[in-house]
């Protein structure tokens, strides 16, 4: 019988996780191979794999994947480099927060995708435009979330640091930053996931390479197998980067799990 909040064993957990993928693909195969859905609208799994193989071997899809990854990482790294220090300053110093917070809260709701036409006007259809879309999509989110995390640092730890002789800057450097480092890493992991949706949007319009570009090209040819393959590749890369991020956090912050 299922009991609420009862933990599940490691083996069972992995098996259950995999089995839903199996169920999903089986349902897909049943609908397409069984002839219930037209091939024009949805390719079957086997066609999808064959198309994917062809993309990789004959059409240089690996290059598109590499381009997309580089755009996501490039835009994301720039956004993080700006947003993390600003977020820490805002969380630590209330006047700085009062200065930036209203604007950042407003800017956060501006959809990055709506900027694509404008950014094409400003920056053309080169790499700068792609990076800017990701930058705009990520930077405000990171700033706000980091500021909130830092602002919620345990007060008693800050007080303890003061009674041990820490200066105000010392409190930022030796309490606020290390106390929130794991939280900040979690925020970056989360926002990186969102950055993936922005890059595809940026590549759908005015692009000559990348996974998004391939998907829009395939649409013109009604190659649903290729489109689905592209989408699945994005999902897989997301999964891998998520695992990498989690492993990195465990490595960097052993005190959290100790």
């Amino acid at each position: 019988m299922l009991r609420p909040l009862e933990p599940v064993g490691q083996g069972a957990k992995v098996a259950l996780g995999i089995s839903f993928f199996v169920v999903f693909v089986a349902a897909w195969a049943f609908a397409t191979l069984g002839g219930y859905v037209s091939k024009t609208f949805l390719a079957d799994p086997i066609t999808m794999l064959r198309d994917g193989w062809e993309l990789l071997t004959r059409f240089g899809f690996a290059y598109d994947i590499a381009m997309t990854i580089w755009r996501v990482l490039g835009g994301f790294v720039i956004a993080a480099a700006v947003a993390v220090p600003l977020g820490i300053l805002m969380g630590a110093y209330k006047p700085v927060e009062a200065f930036f917070e209203p604007f950042v809260s407003f800017a956060r709701y501006l959809p990055a995708s709506a900027f694509v036409p404008l950014l094409i006007l400003w920056a053309g259809i080169g790499e700068t435009q792609k990076l800017l879309v990701i930058f705009i999509g990520s930077v405000f989110q990171i700033v706000l979330m980091v500021a909130v995390a830092v602002g919620q640092t345990r007060r008693d730890l800050v007080e303890a640091a003061y009674t041990l002789g820490a200066s105000p800057q010392g409190v930022v450097r030796r309490v606020l930053i290390p106390a929130n480092a794991p939280e900040i890493a979690e925020i970056l992991r989360l926002v990186l996931g969102w950055a993936w949706t922005y890059v595809i949007v940026a590549e759908l319009i005015g692009s000559s390479s990348g996974i998004g570009h391939m998907i829009i090209d395939s649409q013109a040819l009604l190659a649903t197998g290729q489109m689905i393959f592209g989408i699945i590749v994005i999902g897989l890369i997301g999964l891998v980067s998520d695992f990498a991020f989690k492993a990195m956090n465990r490595w960097f912050f052993p005190w959290r799990l100790a």
């Binding site: 007080e159 303890a160 002789g165 005190w255």
Partner: protein
Amino acid sequence: MTGKLLVDGVSRVFPGVRGGAPTRALEPARLEVAENDFITILGPSGCGKSTLLRIVAGLDRPSAGRVLLDGRAVAGPGPDRGMVFQSYTLFPWLTVAENIAFGLREKGVPASQRRGTIGAYVEKVGLTGFENHYPKQLSGGMQQRTAIARAFANDPEILLLDEPFGALDNQTRALMQELLLGIWERERKTVLFVTHDIEEAIFLASRVVIMTARPGRIKADVPVDLPHPRDYRMKTSPHFSELKARLTEEIRVEAVRAAEAH
């Protein structure tokens, strides 16, 4: 006897919440602490004893009055007044050794010298072998022992302890009292220790200061003339029981008053 610490007419009024009447947490209090004295402040919960300690630490500001340490007015928190809190305030990202060295690092003490101090205090609080553990891996008692070592290692002029053993079970608490007293008997620091536990107040102190129920006021100042070194057997001696009976009476009146006020 020179006054190390002088609490001079310190009071604290917290502003009313949403138009309510302001709360008088602490009535003007005067307290003089001699060098190397161990003072316990005893009172029912909510009597403002923690507020008084936080004002001495510089973590809270008095509404009136001033605190003088060695004749200088206290303006904010500083390393000359070390503090041990009731909540576990070890830095979770630092090991036991790094926690103990926190203040020393802030002062710019070189690493080689820090190692010596860490080693000495790890041994004094009985945590040898746990230097590289993270706080999460320690029991509550071990965490508070580390916090005590961290405060002592910083070599403050006065040590402020705010019910440091309040969250511990009775047996651990008794051991911690002996440990703290043992360190004090050797190092002779000036200590201000807040508690609501009568036995703890007598066992540790050379003077027990009793506070009244809210608004907090210093009601009595009882010297404890039990000899040093003290150990747990003293808690059952006739003289100890006599003191305990007397303080119990004093504090009971306040507890009753506090209960009636709510």
